[in-house]
């Protein structure tokens, strides 16, 4: 039987050994980023991550076999309620809209603004769709793994993915700053135009 590193101050039977610290040190930033994208709020993300790590610590004997997957699953579960809560309550100090409007700025500014708009659009998605986007396109998880984490079928994940990507395009189209020709489209990146893609099933859905 493996022996845990004894720790002063922790009662016998609570097996949180040094591997817990190593795991937190190595993976907590990645997990915090996931939590941030799931909640769209830095404070809530830290709170969720602490809670998830606390649960992992409580069940470390089981969690340490695959700690990242264990914590990520808890994050996903916790984030669902948190997302709903956040959507019902006023958000903390939202950025003024003007900060997104860099259409007349430099190319680098436009690029950054575009990426920021993408993240803001993500925050407007329903909980499940947001989870699917984060898990699949930020954490780079497969459909099967995402389905396992969220607790639904692979078909449902594909469906959420398709809806989420369509929804993101629509939101981006709505929030794309006016261009010089007044079309309201970001001409530099045709993929951001909603009109052409509305109703189409993205190829990545089945990846």
């Amino acid at each position: 039987m493996a022996t845990a590193t004894p720790e002063v101050g922790v009662p016998t039977g609570v097996k949180v050994d040094a591997s817990f610290d190593a795991f937190v040190g190595a993976r907590s930033t990645g997990l915090l980023r996931t939590a941030y994208l799931l909640t769209g709020d830095h404070g809530h993300a830290e709170d969720l991550l602490q809670t998830a790590l606390l649960r992992a610590a409580r069940h470390w004997r089981r969690a340490r076999e695959a700690p990242e997957a264990y914590v990520r699953k808890i994050l996903v579960n916790l984030s669902r309620d948190r997302i709903r809560l956040l959507r019902r309550r006023p958000r903390e100090a939202p950025l003024p809209d003007g900060l997104d409007r860099h259409a007349t700025g430099t190319g680098a500014d436009e690029h950054l603004a575009e990426q920021h708009r993408m993240a803001r659009a993500l925050a407007r998605l329903p909980a499940r769709q947001r989870q699917v986007v984060v898990l699949r396109f930020f954490n780079d998880l497969s459909v099967a793994h995402t389905a396992e984490l969220i607790g639904c079928s692979e078909g449902t994940v594909k469906s959420y993915t398709a809806r989420a990507l369509t929804q993101l395009r629509l939101i981006l189209a709505e929030t794309t700053p006016a261009t010089a020709d007044g079309t309201g489209q970001a001409a530099t990146n045709p993929s951001f135009t909603a009109q052409r893609l509305r109703g189409r099933k993205p190829a990545h859905v089945n990846r």
Binding site: D21, G25, L49, R55, M118, F138, S191
Partner: protein, 300 residues
């Protein structure tokens, strides 16, 4: 590259850029450990600290360290707390200490009074053996289950089905960690399992009551996570601090368990034994999907 692929690529890049500045604080592991320790110790801190203080006070008084002790001589016997000074911390510590010595007893618990099927459980914690008999309200025996083993090494289970006069045995592996579903108490819990459940939550003192003619202290067990549906009450013997009753209620439906803590006499140990009647039929493989899952989830 299709526009769809471009879009997903842009999305991924945007999410990475958006989170590039998000960094976990370097003290996170220490913070979590601190919270973890605090959580684990919460129950004990409530209990052990007052007892430790009282013990220290008693030692101090005995050693003549108390104010005025020099004039009055040793007053070690006067360190007993007044009955009216009972605190939840003291009761928690006393209950924890009493349950820690649970191996000294044979535990008899009954549950399901007034229901269609009642359950009677005899547990010999020192031997890792438990017998459970389920009986209908008409007094007809339903089944008997003997479980032997440990959580570390798994269990051997003997099941006797009195309804069709059959019996079988099964091996149950040691379980993985239990899912985090809050605290509950069952008639099959060993003293150590009761102790662990109480440690996982926190206790509140409700008051002094009588249970089956015995003076008892009524405690309420708070779930560690708010919002869990189970409400748990525990009564401990006011003298021994061993549980004498528990109540687990969900949506108004309460499951009452009464406990007796009996000396390990030959008579009581015999209650924790079980053998299949010779006239019963042995099923080599047991019935499909009807065998109990282990001591805490045994049939009944």
């Amino acid at each position: 590259m299709s526009t769809d692929e471009q879009f997903v690529e842009s999305l991924t890049a945007a999410l990475r850029t958006e989170t590039a500045g998000v960094q976990a604080p370097p003290t996170l592991a220490a913070t979590v450990r601190r919270r973890h320790r605090r959580q684990v110790w919460t129950t004990r801190a409530l209990g052990i600290t007052p007892v430790a203080v009282l013990a220290a006070a008693a030692i101090a008084v005995a050693a003549g360290g108390a104010p005025g002790a020099g004039q009055r001589g040793s007053t070690a016997g006067g360190a007993d707390p007044a009955p009216g000074m009972r605190t939840v911390g003291q009761v928690t510590a006393q209950t924890d200490a009493a349950l820690a010595k649970g191996d000294d007893y044979v535990v008899h618990s009954t549950s399901g009074a007034g229901r269609q099927v009642t359950s009677e459980v005899w547990t010999d914690p020192a031997a890792g053996r438990q017998r459970q008999d389920s009986t209908t309200a008409n007094g007809e025996r339903v089944n008997s289950v003997l479980t032997e083993g440990s959580a570390e090494h798994g269990w051997t289970v003997l099941v006797i089905n009195h309804e069709d006069s059959t019996w079988w045995t099964a091996q149950r592996p040691a379980p993985s960690d239990e899912p985090d579903q809050g605290i509950t108490l069952t008639a099959q819990d060993t003293p150590e399992q009761i102790r662990a459940a109480l440690r996982a939550g926190s206790l509140a003192l409700v008051g002094d009551e009588q249970v089956n003619g015995t003076d008892a202290i009524h405690l309420r067990v708070a779930q560690p996570a708010a919002g869990l549906p189970l409400e748990i009450d525990l009564w401990v013997d006011a003298t021994t601090y061993l549980p004498c009753r528990s109540s687990v209620a969900k949506r108004g439906q309460a499951q009452i368990i009464d406990y007796s803590w009996l000396p390990r006499t030959a008579e009581h140990l015999a209650k924790v034994r079980l053998a299949a009647p010779a006239e019963y039929t042995h099923l080599a493989d047991g019935p499909v999907s009807t065998a109990p899952a282990g001591p805490a989830g045994a049939a009944g």
